[in-house]
Amino acid sequence: MISKQMWKYIFRKLIFLIITYIIATTIVFLLPRIIPGNPLSQMLASLSQVAQANPEAIRAAEKNLMEEFGFGKPWYVQYFEFVSNALRGNLGTSVAYYPRKVLDLIIPVLPWTLLLLLPATIVAWFLGNSLGAWAGFRRNTWIDKGVLTTSLIVSQIPYYWLGMILIYFFGVRLGILPVGGAYTQGNFPSFSWNFFVDVLKHYILPFSSIVISAMGGWAIGMRLMVIYELGNDYVRFSEALGMKDKRIYKYVFRNSMLPQITGLALSLGGALGGALITEIVFNYPGTGFLLFKALTTLDYPLIQGVFVILIASIYLANFIVDFIYALIDPRIRLGQEE
């Protein structure tokens, strides 16, 4: 059952999310425009070859394009056009993929990114925390030392380097897994068993590279939290009352998880940056790959579009996590009143 306080909490969170979303999208609008360069230059260059280098025609084309994209207008006019168009579901036209619409470019690749990012982050979080808690409860045993040392080493490995090592070992040396892509070229997406297996094979390496490199950090954090919680007075009191270890471990686990849940919400945002490089290393057709393309060609509308969608999905994930947090920790839910 959702109490009155809970509704209040959700409402506050929503207002906060909307405000931060507006700020974030504004920054995303402004930042690429600070990068020196003309987004149309590449397009005009290729046009000039087709148009037999007729300066008149090129200048005319540039004028037309400037008109169409509105890059000539003052930035605030551009901004309000961007916002009002975005609210109507129109994220504009891509420069690099002219004349394709930004939304049409993003929608087919977005599921690939989410499919890679969300499960990998959550699995890493889950495995890392379980491992960390396991080590924490057995402080100073060889299990604890083993987990801590491995975690420390693994967490320092850059994920892209790990990705390359995995590709080299499993893809090149052993040849048992594909080296890149989300599915075999020429194999069109369909809901068949064959396609599923094909996708799964391509999925294993990028997925593992994210999970392995992210897991260590979680394990280290959780181990520390558990050790800290074990020293708390409620543990001593429960022990002295004759409570069983199993119950006390449950208490400790529950309380140690709370900061880790906040951490998950943050890392979902952070994983976005990681996905970009992972997708490039694995040639994986996700939003990161698309964003990379957009950034190198200074494709303002596409950069904006990718971010608008990605930030929205990250915020949605954050919101869900906040909701779960409030369910577990009464201090968050009820503390609002005081």
């Binding site: 009191f237 002295a240 009464p330």
Partner: protein, 330 residues
């Protein structure tokens, strides 16, 4: 059969470090009578918290019980709990026979579940029907002046004093014979302290708990509630005596110094004024030879530097470890 609830005989408990040990409780003997409150006082690091752990057999590395016997009276006979493992004592004694109110009792409740849920878990741990136990918890809450509706709340919704009372109510839910309170009032304001002590005494009066060990460095508090006072210094008992007598005329020079350094409204203490004990407590890894207090003692004699004074009865019910009260002095 004597009327003591617990007998502590020549107990030595040391913290074992790599190549040495810290003698936190060194050759201590005393008895806890039924129906009494013993106040344990001493400076920080004198071993009083270790003593409360030893009494419960809460012995975790690096602490080790080196020698001695701890006997606990259950069903009319004495059980030697010092021969049991920590887990065995925990299973059969903790909560049921002896309970603990930890330091900073305000944080002693599991913070993220309702108090009611915690009580249910406790019932579960001791195989008691939940509804019966909850009913008892409600009654106990009323006894400590808390509305039973607070059982349905989370600990953080209660004020500091209320939390403390809830902790007493829960600590005594299983009617333990011995309650060990380890500096429970140090985080409370004076009004709440008073309330806390009143409830503690009420618990004893009603026979819910038989005896109470109250560990503190706050002598004024002990003065209000304890029947006997046990003074510890550097892992040793310096003096154990009925509270009135010890306040009126402390025998051991350390006790004298300790009482002189406290501001209390008692006329007999007021007269003396406040003084401090010069110097600092010794390092327990390598305590001084002879009486451990001799480097700071104003009455130190030659024998104090050589021999350790034994804890001897000098008056009925009064025991002191000091050569000033022994024929052995030379």
């Amino acid at each position: 059969m004597s009327n003591s609830l617990m007998k502590i005989e020549k107990v030595k408990a040391y913290y074992m470090l790599k190549d040495r040990y810290v003698k936190a409780v060194d050759n201590i003997s005393f008895e806890i009578n039924e129906n009494e409150v013993i106040g344990v006082v001493g400076e920080s690091g004198c071993g009083k918290s270790t003593l409360s752990n030893v009494l419960m057999m809460n012995i975790i590395k690096p602490l080790a019980l080196i020698d001695g016997k701890i006997l606990f009276k259950t069903n009319g006979s004495y059980k030697e709990i010092s021969s049991l493992s920590r887990e065995e004592v925990r299973k059969d004694f903790w909560g049921k026979k002896m309970a603990l109110i930890p330091q900073a009792a305000m944080n002693a409740l599991m913070p993220t579940i309702k108090i009611e849920k915690y009580v249910e878990h406790l019932a579960d741990a001791h195989n008691i029907p939940k509804d019966k136990f909850l009913k008892k918890a409600k009654e106990r809450f009323e006894k400590v002046d808390l509305d039973p509706k607070w059982l349905k709340r989370f600990p953080f919704e209660l004020s500091g004093g209320m939390k403390q009372r809830a902790v007493i109510a829960i600590a005594t839910l299983l009617d333990p014979d011995l309650l060990i309170a380890d500096e429970p009032t140090s985080a409370l304001d004076v009004v709440n302290q008073k309330m806390f002590l009143k409830i503690l005494m009420e618990m004893k009066k009603q026979g819910i708990v038989k005896s109470i060990i109250f560990v503190t460095h706050d002598i004024a508090t002990i003065r209000q509630i304890a029947d006997r006072m046990l003074v510890m210094y550097a892992g040793k008992i310096m003096e154990i005596s009925p509270i009135d007598k010890i306040v009126e005329k402390p025998l051991n020079p350390y006790t004298q110094g300790l009482l002189n350094s406290v501001l209390t409204p008692e006329p007999e203490i007021k007269k003396r004024g406040i003084t401090t004990i010069p110097g600092a407590p010794p390092n327990l890894i390598d305590p001084p030879k002879g009486c451990r207090f001799h480097p700071r003692c104003p009455h130190a004699m030659d024998i104090c530097k050589e021999k350790e004074p034994e804890l001897k009865e000098v008056e009925p019910g009064r025991k002191v470890a000091c050569f000033l009260y022994s024929e052995e002095r030379s």
